[in-house]
């Protein structure tokens, strides 16, 4: 090889940055392809340029880690080892016919209407995750936002989404979201977490193995206490109310089996509800490349390789586990990809520390997963008239009809018979709800286009296959 090998890293969050920096340090030419204006991903999301001077105090995770990554990125960019392609919304990655290379297809520009392609010898997929939101009556009212959406607003645009907020659902994201809202000046009326303290206690050994993580959680809890935020564990939001927009939510306590205790329901006034039920991996690009999945995540080996030669994956796309895991996986993927691009067998001793961090973080993530499961029976409690697919306006009742009278027994057939999941979001939003109502496990689904593509761009694709 006369030229330096080229590695495309899709996603500039913790995993993608770690992979890019590691591979660049080994002499690989890295093309870091990302949808945002600035590196950082969801976790290290940076305030938009020109955000107002009266911005609320923005929360920031792992500031020192971020400084290190950003300095590294700047250095490699200045040296020409990393090309950072911002505002590149990748819709497909495809292997090139008859060669070992890959083409990354992206959209650019304000309307995402300009097609661009990036060629590389290998690919690291670090596309992160997206939020799981389970429907409930009133969840489509203006004023109901996803927990991650609220956080993104806080971090990126620094706009306070509302004045009186409730943060609800389940998962470790709720704590920082509530703390961030409170710090930014919102009154957080309650943090409603469906998991109970007993579940946390049961997983104590695995959780205690990550003292840093627990301290982080304890730090948020202390901040909530300082802001006087009520934390309701083993509670759920049963419904959101409002005429034009959100005015209040009904909150109820859950029993040990995850069902609401009769008589515990009460109304809490609020104008913002930030709701989330954890994250799901983005697997579209990997799936279209033909990579095997394991459950809802991309399957990788000890070197973070997928089963498609030349394709690595790191971070939430291989299983949701947070920043520490993403950094470790990205680091390992960068080492492995660099070595293999130079035709050598990588030496795992070079990433021994990252390997240990990965093992710890995966155990921690598994324990969290077990704690923060949606309350059982949530799908059965969903009233027939509640919309589950917002894009196509499909109600829970229509999904039940497809299952009951038309004989659909799986999510794909429900989709065919009801159109649930056929709209703009392609089932990312309603997938978990449809699976729950159908009574089948969540299938990550096939989305050959990771995002909508103008037909004009498709019509003018270069002939690289």
């Amino acid at each position: 090889m006369t030229e330096r090998p080229r590695l495309a890293v899709v996603g500039a969050g913790p995993a993608g940055l770690a992979a890019a920096l590691t591979a660049a340090a080994q002499g690989v030419r890295v093309l870091l392809v990302d949808a945002a204006e600035q590196a950082g991903g969801q976790l290290y999301r940076q305030p938009a340029a020109g955000a107002g001077p009266h911005r609320p105090r923005a929360p920031h995770h792992g500031r020192r880690t971020w400084e290190r990554l950003r300095t590294g990125l700047d250095r490699h960019r200045a040296a020409g080892r990393i090309t950072h392609l911002t505002d590149h919304h990748v819709w497909c990655v495809a292997g090139e016919y008859g060669s070992a290379g890959f083409t990354v297809y992206a959209l650019r520009g304000p309307g995402q209407e300009e097609g661009v392609t990036v060629r590389a010898d290998a690919v690291v997929l670090a596309t992160g995750g997206y939020e799981r939101v389970l429907p409930f009556p009133g969840w489509t009212l203006p004023g109901v936002v996803t927990a991650g959406g609220a956080q993104a607003m806080l971090k990126g645009q620094l706009v306070l989404p509302g004045r009186t907020a409730v943060v609800a659902g389940t998962g470790p994201l709720l704590l920082p979201v509530a703390a961030g809202l409170a710090a930014a000046g919102a009154r957080v009326a309650a943090l409603v977490e469906s998991a109970g303290p007993a579940e946390l206690a049961r997983r104590a050994p695995a959780l205690a193995a990550q003292p840093g993580k627990l301290a982080e959680g304890a730090g948020y809890a202390a901040r909530l206490l300082r802001h006087g935020v009520r934390v309701l564990t083993r509670h759920t939001v049963l419904a959101a109310h409002g005429a034009e927009r959100l005015e209040a939510v009904t909150v109820a306590a859950l029993d040990r089996t995850g069902r609401p205790y009769p008589g515990t329901a009460r109304r809490v006034r609020c104008d913002t509800l930030a709701v989330g039920h954890g994250l799901l991996p983005h697997t579209d690009l990997a799936e279209a490349l033909g990579c095997a999945l394991s459950g809802t995540a991309v399957r990788v080996d000890a070197e973070q390789r997928t089963d498609v030669p030349g394709v690595w994956a790191a971070g939430e796309t291989t299983g949701v586990g947070g920043a520490a895991l993403a950094l470790a996986e990205g680091h390992i993927a960068g080492h492995s990809a660099a070595a293999r691009l130079y035709g050598t067998v990588p030496d795992p001793r070079r990433w021994a520390a990252a390997d240990r961090a990965r093992t710890r973080a995966r155990a921690f993530a598994a324990a969290l997963d077990a704690v923060y499961a949606p309350p059982s029976g949530w799908a059965d409690r969903l009233p027939d008239e509640t919309v589950v697919c917002r894009c196509e306006e499909v109600t829970a009742g229509r999904v039940r009809e497809a299952v009951g009278t038309l004989g659909a027994g799986d999510a794909r057939t429900v989709k065919l018979l009801t159109r649930a999941g056929m709209g703009w979001c392609q089932g990312r939003m309603c997938g978990p709800a449809v699976a729950g109502l159908t009574g089948c496990p969540l299938d990550p689904g096939r989305r050959p286009f990771a995002r909508p593509v103008p037909l004009g761009v498709l019509a003018e694709l270069p002939d690289t296959e």
């Binding site: 038309l406 027994g409 799986d410 057939t413 050959p448 498709l458």
Partner: protein, 365 residues
């Protein structure tokens, strides 16, 4: 789809019907189709006779089942971009008219009356009012329900039961045997495998077709619109890519563009080349689509037989076995006629017309 139609007409002929499928309803090619009910693309001959009967039956079924199957008698508009293509198209249409098709010539300056957003500069076209559309998965599910047949989804047929004399008396599934004096093979692209289980031969092969689906739009494409080279393509025997997109709006809003025709076996992986051909064809017909976004694409496997005609009727090599498969890209459209003809054969009544061209044993052994 073919199986659901067979179940419906067999049940209406007084038979007790069981439907066995290894997957869910519409889990195979039906769920990956466009729902074309076309006469416009068929040359005079046995398939056109089947299509004309089917078009009538679909209209009746739509009255019965209401809006549930999203039947739309929208008509087709076939356009030609060059005078040469137009002459060929007009000649083709004249022969179709003599076979009972309504085919109305449309002059170049009338095209925008039919399709206001059509690209300028077309030489002319032909309007086919009998072309229609159904939503295939809904149609299959509702026909199956209307049949009242007992359904066994998720049951894989592992064998066809035959007596020592060779007569078929049921099927073996992974969840038990089902006995019946007649077995209908409506296994679509897997019809050849089922025939083999019965010890007989039906050379059904897959032809891959990609369909592109856009974001929902207000209705701008009113008919099923396609270019005249499509007609030449259906009967084409050449392998490789033959994109000749039919562009149409749907009741639900998205524009469907499809389908490519490729012989690549059962390979489901995304072909950007196929997708590019579809998009280029659609934008060529309707320039406004250039800025419209495709939300998804999917591939299905059209079952075809070497002479591009389906197999419909009893198999003399395996008494008790009937075939209803191999409809290639026309299975949705041809399903009701197929179901009706199968029901007649099952009850020993005379068919609507001569089934000789569809004989399952015509390919020899």
């Amino acid at each position: 789809m073919a199986g659901a139609a067979c179940a419906l007409y067999a049940a209406r002929a007084g038979l007790e019907v069981r439907v066995v499928d290894r997957g869910p309803v519409a889990g195979g090619t039906t769920g990956a189709g466009e729902g074309n009910v076309l006469v416009s693309d068929k040359e005079p001959g046995p398939e056109l006779r089947l299509a004309l009967l089917s078009a009538r039956l679909w209209a009746g079924l739509a009255e019965e089942l209401g809006a549930a199957i999203e039947y739309e008698p929208k008509g087709g508009l076939v356009v030609a971009s060059t005078p040469g293509a137009l002459a060929a198209l007009r000649d083709f249409a004249a022969r179709q008219r003599s076979a009972g098709v309504t085919a109305i010539p449309v002059a170049d300056n009338q095209l925008t009356d039919f399709e206001p957003y059509l690209a300028p500069g077309m030489a002319g076209g032909v309007h086919y009012p009998q072309d229609a559309q159904v939503m295939p998965a809904l149609a299959a599910a509702h026909l199956l329900r209307a049949s009242g047949a007992r359904s066994h989804p998720g049951h894989t047929v592992t064998g066809v039961l035959r007596t020592a004399g060779g007569t078929v008396y049921g099927v073996r599934t992974d969840r038990g045997d089902i006995h019946a004096p007649a077995v209908v093979n409506a296994a679509g692209v897997w019809g050849g495998d089922l025939a083999a289980l019965a010890g007989t031969r039906l050379p059904v092969l897959p032809r891959r077709g990609f369909v592109l689906v856009t974001e929902p739009l207000p209705r701008r494409v009113r008919h099923k619109v396609y270019a005249a080279d499509y007609v030449a393509d259906v009967a084409s025997d050449s392998a490789g890519l033959r994109a000749s997109p039919v562009v149409e709006g749907t009741a639900a809003g998205p524009v469907l563009i499809g389908a490519t025709r490729e012989r690549v076996g059962f390979d489901r992986s995304l072909s950007l080349r196929a997708v590019r051909a579809l998009a280029a064809g659609a934008v060529g017909l309707f320039p406004f689509l250039g800025r419209v976004r495709a939300l998804r694409t999917y591939a299905g496997f059209r079952p075809y037989l070497p002479d591009h005609l389906p197999a419909i009727g009893p198999d003399p090599r395996a008494p008790g076995l009937f075939h209803a498969c191999g409809h290639e890209g026309a299975g949705i459209g041809l399903a009701p006629a197929t179901g009706l003809l199968i029901a007649r054969a099952l009850t020993g009544r005379a068919p609507e017309f001569d089934l000789t061209p569809f004989r399952p044993e015509r390919f020899g052994t």
